[in-house]
Amino acid sequence: MGRITLDKVTKSFGDVEVIPPLDLTIEDGEFTVFVGPSGCGKSTLLRLIAGLEDITSGQIRIDGNDATSVPPARRGLAMVFQSYALYPHMSVRKNIAFPLRMAKLDQAEIDRRVEGAASVLNLADYIDRKPGQLSGGQRQRVAIGRAIVREPAAFLFDEPLSNLDAALRVGMRLEISELHKRLETTMIYVTHDQVEAMTMADKIVVLRAGHIEQVGSPLELYRTPRNLFVAGFIGSPRMNLISGPEAEKHGCHTLGIRPEHIEVSAEGGPWSGVVGVSEHLGSDTFFHIHDTGLDETITVRADGEVGFSHGDRVSLTPREDVMHRFGADGLRMA
């Protein structure tokens, strides 16, 4: 079981309030991702849940029990750190066994569980090595192994993939998702990478300056961003945000249109401009269009075969049905 409830939680460092009053419920078995730009308070929030920092006011409940002043060791949560935080002087086996040793389990049980974790994560080949002899991906697995042996109520991940190279990151992303499907344990995952958030999460919590900007499933956030910040943050390349006369024409202060919802053609659309840089990804091409008469460069996603080049004059057709309209306050208009 692992239902975590934050009730009017705040956190201040001295006079600086990093988390203003915040309410959030994470359901049992849910994969929740905290995402936001660096310094948005997502890691602090995770550390508050872990108990590594005191909350300034409010309450944290785990499975209905008040955990606000319970020390981290007794919250029944396991954490995977950004740096993996493996104990360098212990072998992989000892690292994984450490939480069990601290819990004073008997040796047979410790061995059983370590073997179990090792086989789940394919650690058997290097179980007697020290962390210093392992690659980044292997260390990551050991850190996860150390977390799962405890059979915690929830797993906390603090940007666990940010130290891995791109290829490995994709692989580990799948492995962690796989693990979640198998264990069906609550997981809270902190990242600044919206691709990780979109691909892994059941529920995404978008944070900015300690505020929750929006909570929802990945597709909800993609389809109906609640405000300009979420609109700009979720989706890659980012949504085109247009203000000025063109927005007024659509009855709003800011008009949002995703690059994939604009069609580029030689002529015929309502907007036009000059092709600047084109980024060819093979399957897709991103065109950056200047001189559109709108107030900024428009990014357009087109099929990889569409062949405009630098300096070509093109015409743009936005899809009216998926336009996002935002008011002067930055909030989504109904």
Partner: protein
């Protein structure tokens, strides 16, 4: 950042060290201050009451005071100049490619580990003895008349002994600093056409400035209170009585605790002025 629980644990675990050092600082300091305002001669009547600033005035106006200050400054200054200059040269030399670098470094560093009483005795007897010392042999070999070093050239002799002890320290720290110099900086300077001497002047020396400052400050603190070297060699005679030694004599030899304590307060003030500068530098280093 951490939790309340760990903060209170931290305070508790810091307490023994803080309390011990606080006691170590405050108790004797208070006593020294107390004595310095009293006429206190343990062997000649004991504590004879308050004298105000009498001890302070007497300490400064005694005929031994200014020579002692002068001796202190000459020794500290002389040793600093010698160790820093030779230290820089030696550090640069040791940084060059050579065979047996490790062994040379071990040889150069060795004097620092020799206890001050040993080094003073060895220098005094085996090198500076006017009859049997090695210097006397060398002088006679060249047909010169050997000197009685510690009485006829007492200050240079003491400075030589102390410099020998502290040169390794300066060299070691400066060498470490040189090795931390980014070699790309020198390569860039070379590409810019700077000759070796200019590279030394404009890149190596500025890079070393911080290490040199630290060497100067730390050595000053230790040198202000050198004791064994003088205790063993001249016993404060022949113009080598430093402030430290003068105070030592007032307190233990002439058993004038009040006067010695006043001197002690002067020494503490002096050391604190130096310490203040060191703190600034070390404190700055803590920030990054």
């Amino acid at each position: 950042m951490a939790t309340k629980a760990s903060r209170s644990a931290a305070r508790l675990m810091m307490a023994p060290a803080v309390i011990l050092l606080l006691g170590w600082m405050l108790v004797p300091l208070t006593m020294t201050l107390w004595f310095s305002f009293r006429r206190y001669l343990p062997l000649r009547g004991g504590d004879q009451g308050w004298t105000g600033f009498d001890n302070y005035v007497r300490f400064v106006t005694s005929s031994a005071f200014w020579p002692a200050v002068q001796a202190t400054l000459v020794i500290v200054g002389g040793v600093l100049i010698i160790t820093v200059c030779l230290g820089v040269l030696l550090a640069i030399l040791l940084d060059q490619p050579m065979w047996g670098q490790g062994i040379v470094r071990v040889l150069v560093i060795a004097p620092f580990f020799v206890m001050p009483t040993v080094s003073a005795l060895v220098w005094k007897n085996m090198f500076m003895d006017p009859v049997n010392g090695l210097f006397a042999h060398v002088w006679r070999f060249f047909g010169a008349e050997p000197l009685s070093w510690l009485s006829e050239a007492s200050m240079p002799s003491i400075i030589l002994i102390v410099s020998w002890q502290w040169l390794p320290f300066a060299t070691l720290i400066l060498l470490t600093a040189i090795q931390s110099l980014d070699s790309e900086q020198l390569e860039a300077a070379e590409m810019d056409g700077a000759p070796k001497l200019k590279q030394f002047w404009f890149i190596i020396l500025p890079h070393l400035s911080r290490a040199i400052t630290i060497v100067i400050l730390i050595q000053t603190i230790f040198l202000l209170s050198i004791f064994a070297e003088i205790f063993v060699t001249t016993g404060g005679a022949f113009g080598t009585r430093t402030l430290t030694y003068l105070i030592f004599q007032r307190v233990l030899e002439s058993q004038n605790v009040g006067l010695g304590s006043a001197g002690g307060v002067y020494a503490i003030i002096l050391a604190n002025i130096v310490a203040l500068f060191l703190m600034r530098i070390v404190g700055k280093n803590l920030d990054n």
